[in-house]
Amino acid sequence: MQGLFASPVAQKAWNTTLFVVMLFFLLNVLAVIAVVVVNSLGQRWFGGWLPDGFTLRWYSTAWAEFQLSAILVVTAQVAGAVVFLSLLVGVPAAYVMARLRFRGKGLVLLLFLLPLLVPPVTYGIPLATVLYQMGLGGTIWGVILANLVPAAPFVVLVMTPFVEQIDGKLEDAARVFGAGTLTIFRRILVPLLLPGMLSAGLLVLMRTLSMFELTFLTAGADSQTLVVALYYAVFAAGVRAPQSTDAMAVVYMATTLIWLLLALRFVDPTQMVGRVKAQRA
């Protein structure tokens, strides 16, 4: 095998193969997304490469049929609340994880990692059970709390290196010159952490918008986010025109990708996958 890769020609062939495989994959990904967009704009589509004609009518149909305005309001409320609450609890925790050493820190880190490592379906079912028992199941608060489970630890992990980047001597200096812990947070840490909080907030926002499982398991009829509504629409296919479902899918794509575009200005795509630093445990 080493001989195979040793020659420059083999090296080149190998790289070309990778390139072709990658290109094929990317084309398929783009096609899968494009087909949704094209279908949502198509009048009738039987068999050809493209629909017979184009129209925007499916968007108004979808808007009315799926009560998209109500769903969008719920989605915005859920996402906004999850972003706010996860930053509120996650940033101070990230500070502690970055700065302090204390007994049981390894365990605390493990507790923050677990909700990110265990897939949502696995803990979503017991979580939904508990939320329904508490009377929160099917409400928007239940959905928010459920989404907080991966979001808050995610903020902790994303923010920890941002805190580590800030020289601890700055806090010492502020303290020596008379600032208490609260003032240090307000005057020193929060201003310096704003870029990190922006990144973390955007990432949580996108993760919440596309979080299907937890919302699906905890939402009621009037607390569905867009992605769950989309699932039900596909599930109940046949009742409605598929174009109208695709129009809804495009609306969902637009709401998610706008934030992605914004986020890509601040964060590296590799951060989207959570960049798990599990080895530090």
Binding site: Q2, F5, Q11, L18, L26, N28, V29, L30, A31, V32, V35, V36, W49, V89, P92, R99, L100, F102, L111, L114, P115, L117, P119, P120, T122, Y123, I125, P126, T129, V130, L148, V149, P161, G168, D172, M206, S210, F212, E213, V227, L230, Y231, V234, F235, P242, T245, A249, M253, T256, L257, L264, V267, D268, P269, T270, Q271, M272, V273, V276, K277
Partner: protein, 305 residues
Amino acid sequence: MSSTFPPAAAVAPPRPKIAHDARAAGRDLRPLLVLPGLAVVLGLFCYPFIYGLILSFEPLEGGPFANYIAFFTNSRLYGTIGTTLWLSLPITIVNVGLALPVAYALRKPSSSQRIITTILVVPITLGTVLAAEGLLSYLSPNGWMNRALLDIGLISEPIRLLHKPAAVIISLVITGFPFAFLMMLSYVTGIDPTLARAAATLGAPPHRQFMRIYLPLLAPGIAITFALCFVQAFAVFPSAVMLGAPAGPTRVISLAAYEAAFEQYDYSLASAIAIIMGIVQLAVVGAVLGLRNFAYRGPAASGKG
């Protein structure tokens, strides 16, 4: 933000001077700041798990182990483990196996790296539900894929992929490969490229630079990526329902749990299935991480590293 991955962190110098964990004079209340975040995890993650565990031993009827006995005697239930493993394990191997060489080839910052990562982040952001919705049209008998294959002449009549395991597998690649790739890329770019250059000056050709420098340093990252990809694939849910045959060949374990909870309202059985799902995931992840330790120590012990 610059990458601070474990491989790089391992060679970073220790933090200078006075450690900041050193307690200042007066009472230090700062550790309390971790409590709200911890409360979220303890209250909404740990408590439900423990509650579910206890609930799973309190079945609607029968003794404490009735749920587990029911699971392992009913082929429609225990069969889901095999079904899910059969879907998720090969796919994870393919995804990670493909992600590693591609990420390695793209390790240097370039415009193609930027373009590819940007395109690949789209399916991750959109999620499985949208990918499934797209695939429903794309893979359909009249869809673009069959049309392209027909036009090229590779097939004479449309192949039927929908509502079969094949469609679920394709959806797992569409969402799983980008995830594996981005994780691998983050690990690969976290390795100081001067190490490979140092190896080159010592006479190592490219493939040996990879085998001797990158691969050992990447071993932990590969293991973590594999574990996370597997766990996600094992928890496949919406695409199995939307694209597969949820009644049979793609009846995955999460679907069984969902049905128990929300169709039969047997939360006790649902919890038992969720616990079993967690245990299978843990077992595979544990095996992979154990293997990593073994693989990682090998070269060091033989004195060649």
